[in-house]
């Protein structure tokens, strides 16, 4: 067990927290749509991949650095989100959460297959040059990638700006009112249908932001959507449905548990059973923590919504 004293705890925690930022960024769109409309968006992962392809088109057409493609992809996806809500999802909203679940599942299947038909099965990636592998060394000999730091900072900024939008602006007040009681909000003159479209537009704008960073971080193909969905869901649920900062905390808890799983729990189990299984325990530990949170606090850590 000599390896326990060798564990680079600071490194494990920092890398885990940075991954948490990525999960939180993935989850913002999901959290927003659920918080305001009670819409569980199964297509969220595939929408991230769709945004990544849009970013790829922009980069290929203009030759700009992938980060600049944000300036195009985010507004385009805002409009796309608005239209998707207006022409389709608004009709599914009602007392039951099942219709939007089924419709977004259909959207997920359609997006995957249209992308495959149009772009083929090739693995793609946006190339950000030296930035991808650049790193800085923190005191205590912890090497941290610059790009994961960028992702984490963008997650913080996104949550901060959403916080401002929801709690300091008129639009935000309308969102909160609709979220609390859609019927009463309509009585005082709020156009819920329009508001939902704006909410989906904003959710898609943040999804687009996450997608550009994701497509620089790793490669993607038409079927990579589902992989992104599960951690986003877990982050939202650990943090508490509809709670923005809870989503970040949820993401970090998930990321750190996985990191501990790979560096501490996994090696420990490997020692116990005499078989190398360290990597297996990485994701598993995250899922176990998720289940523990569900058992101990079924509403998540910071529940905002009580039905």
């Amino acid at each position: 067990m000599s390896w326990i004293s060798d564990i680079d705890w600071a490194g494990v925690l920092i890398q885990g927290a940075l991954i948490g930022g990525l999960y939180a960024l993935f989850a913002i769109g999901l959290s927003l749509a659920f918080g305001i409309m009670r819409l569980v968006n199964i297509a969220h992962g595939d929408l991230i991949v769709l945004c990544a392809y849009v970013a790829m088109i922009v980069v290929n057409a203009t030759g700009v650095h992938p980060l600049w493609s944000i300036a195009v992809v985010v507004p385009v996806m805002f409009v796309a989100g608005y239209l998707m809500q207006r022409s389709l999802l608004n009709f599914t909203l009602g007392p039951s959460i099942l219709p939007p679940l089924l419709v977004t599942f259909g959207i997920s299947v359609i997006i995957q297959n249209v992308l495959l038909e149009v772009f083929g099965a090739d693995t793609r990636r946006l190339n950000a040059g030296a930035m991808e592998t650049a790193s800085i060394t923190l005191p205590g000999d912890v090497t941290v990638g610059v790009f994961p730091l960028v992702i984490f900072s963008v997650a913080l900024l996104s949550l901060g700006s959403l916080q401002y939008l929801l709690y300091r602006t008129k639009l935000g007040r309308a969102f909160r009112a609709t979220s609390d009681d859609a019927g009463t909000a309509e009585l005082v003159g709020i156009n819920n249908r329009h508001l939902y479209c704006v909410a989906m537009g904003i959710a898609m704008a943040f999804t687009a932001l996450a997608a550009v960073l994701f497509s620089i971080r790793t490669s993607f193909d038409p079927s990579s959507g589902a992989i992104n969905l599960i951690f986003a869901f877990e982050a939202v649920i650990i943090g508490g449905l509809g709670s923005l900062w809870g989503t970040l905390v949820g993401g970090i808890i998930l990321g750190v548990s996985q990191s501990l799983g790979g560096s501490v729990v996994g090696p420990l189990v490997s020692d116990l059973i005499g078989n190398p299984v360290a990597a297996q325990w990485q994701i598993l530990t995250g899922h176990i923590v998720f289940i523990i949170v569900l058992i101990v606090k079924p509403d998540g850590l910071f529940p905002r919504i009580r039905d």
Partner: protein, 432 residues
């Protein structure tokens, strides 16, 4: 559960029908009326070949060349083929497994029960190959598969080496060969012989995790095995830290392309720079290497087929290079390894049908067993394989290097395991 039971029932019926058919044929030699009926049937009959392959889903890249290959083979079969002295038109029915084992089993059942195929072909990874073969074995339909390491095919289907399977036959290389090819490559470049390994938690990775680390140790490499990673892993910091601590100069694993892209980027961020990186499965396709950007140069991988392979199609008489060139001309895309195996699977089946003494399952099966054929991927015969149903094809080592017409070209850099396949260039260590 109802729908799941149905195919089984159907296959049971099919089995019974086959028995009846065999009985009828047997009786036919005695009873004249049956003989009289047969020619009238044969005239209108079409030979049907079922072809199952992953054309959509996570491993759709393996099925990318299907259309090109099928078009070429169909053109070569325009005049039909002669079986037992009669000419028959041939129909190839292509089905998409959607990279999903359940779907693969379902479409195979359709091919067996609705289309009544004479022979069924499957290719590309356990998720498609194994269910296709299992359904055929169950229904007593002759089946030829390829493009899946043979242990994953044979033991993945709980095959008993003593008995083997009756209806299903496979050609590809095995994990023992890939271990040998990788070590041949590693020994050609100076390094400290410390290997860090990591495997994907899927049938390919699990089989590799059981066999490869032991094989490396047996030949004097020290191995730091991190075991199986889950497909959804976004962070490899823990594994990289372990490799770095052990000072591994070689990294080997079974990866999906996105997982390897994440892993390799993080290696760069965390200052881990091995001399050799050999991710199996992840870098078979040029697009996956291009996705790594400049850091894709120098990656090493297994090569099961390439334009340099000195083999010819027995069906169209084209060499490997001619087929690759034509593929690039028609599709404007770089050649890929499944191209050769998809073509070979079809041409082997056609050779089998041509040699069949009659168009019934047992005669076709006997023709498969008797195969001795020079295909686009090398000689195919099932008499000399490691187990009854497996024929081995050659495997060599390759390295991705900056290319001329495309961003990266796959060079064959080590052929110690199959000397008849020429080397394109010498292997280089990764630049640190």
């Amino acid at each position: 559960m109802k729908t799941e039971n149905k195919p089984e029932q159907k296959s049971a019926n099919r089995g019974r029908r086959n028995t009846l058919k065999t009985l009828a044929v047997g009786a036919g030699t005695l009873a004249a009326p049956v003989l009289m009926l047969k020619p009238a049937h044969a005239q209108s009959r079409t030979i049907k070949i079922g072809f199952v392959s992953p054309q959509t889903g996570p491993i759709a890249a393996f099925g990318e060349a299907d259309k090109f290959v099928l078009d070429g083979v169909k053109a070569a079969l325009a005049k039909g083929i002669n079986v037992a002295g009669k000419n028959y038109p041939v129909e190839i029915i292509s089905k998409d497994s959607q990279s999903n084992p359940n779907r693969a089993a379902e479409v195979t059942n359709q091919l067996i029960n609705n289309d009544k195929c004479d022979i069924i072909l499957g290719s590309s990874t356990s998720d498609t190959v194994n269910p296709v073969a299992s359904q055929c074995e169950l229904a007593g339909v002759p089946c030829i598969t390829s493009d899946n390491p043979w242990q994953a095919y044979f033991f993945g289907r709980k095959g008993d080496p003593k008995k083997g399977f009756e209806w299903t036959y496979h050609f590809f290389w095995g994990f023992d060969t890939i271990a040998e090819v990788f070590m041949n490559m590693w020994e050609s470049v100076p390094n400290n012989k410390v290997v860090g390994t990591l495997f994907s938690n899927d049938p390919d990775g699990i089989a590799a995790n059981e066999g490869l680390p032991g094989a490396f140790k047996a030949r004097g490499f020290s191995v730091v095995n991190q075991g199986l990673y889950t497909g959804t892993t976004n962070d490899f910091s823990a594994q990289i830290a372990a490799f770095r601590k052990a000072n591994a100069e070689i990294v080997m694993g079974v990866f999906t392309p996105p997982a390897f892209a994440t892993f390799w980027t993080q290696c760069g961020q965390q200052g881990f720079r091995p001399k050799i990186a050999t991710p199996a499965k992840a870098l078979l396709f040029p697009s996956a290497v291009e996705a790594l950007g400049a850091r894709g140069a120098g990656m090493t991988t297994e090569v099961w087929w390439s334009p340099s392979h000195p083999f010819k199609s027995g069906l169209t008489n084209q060499t490997a290079r001619q087929i690759c060139d034509e593929y690039t001309k028609v599709t404007k895309r770089q050649w890929t390894q499944p191209l050769g195996f998809k073509h070979a699977t079809l041409e082997v089946a056609i050779d089998v049908l041509k040699r069949a003494k009659a168009l019934d399952a047992a005669s076709i099966r006997d023709a498969i067993v008797a195969t001795n054929y020079q295909s686009l991927v090398g000689p195919i015969q099932w008499k000399t394989g490691p187990v009854k149903n497996v024929c081995l094809t050659p495997l060599v080592g390759g390295q991705w290097k900056p290319g001329k017409n495309f961003k990266y070209d796959l060079h064959i850099v080590n052929n110690l395991s199959a000397k008849n396949i020429p080397i394109d260039s010498k292997m280089d260590a990764l630049k640190s």
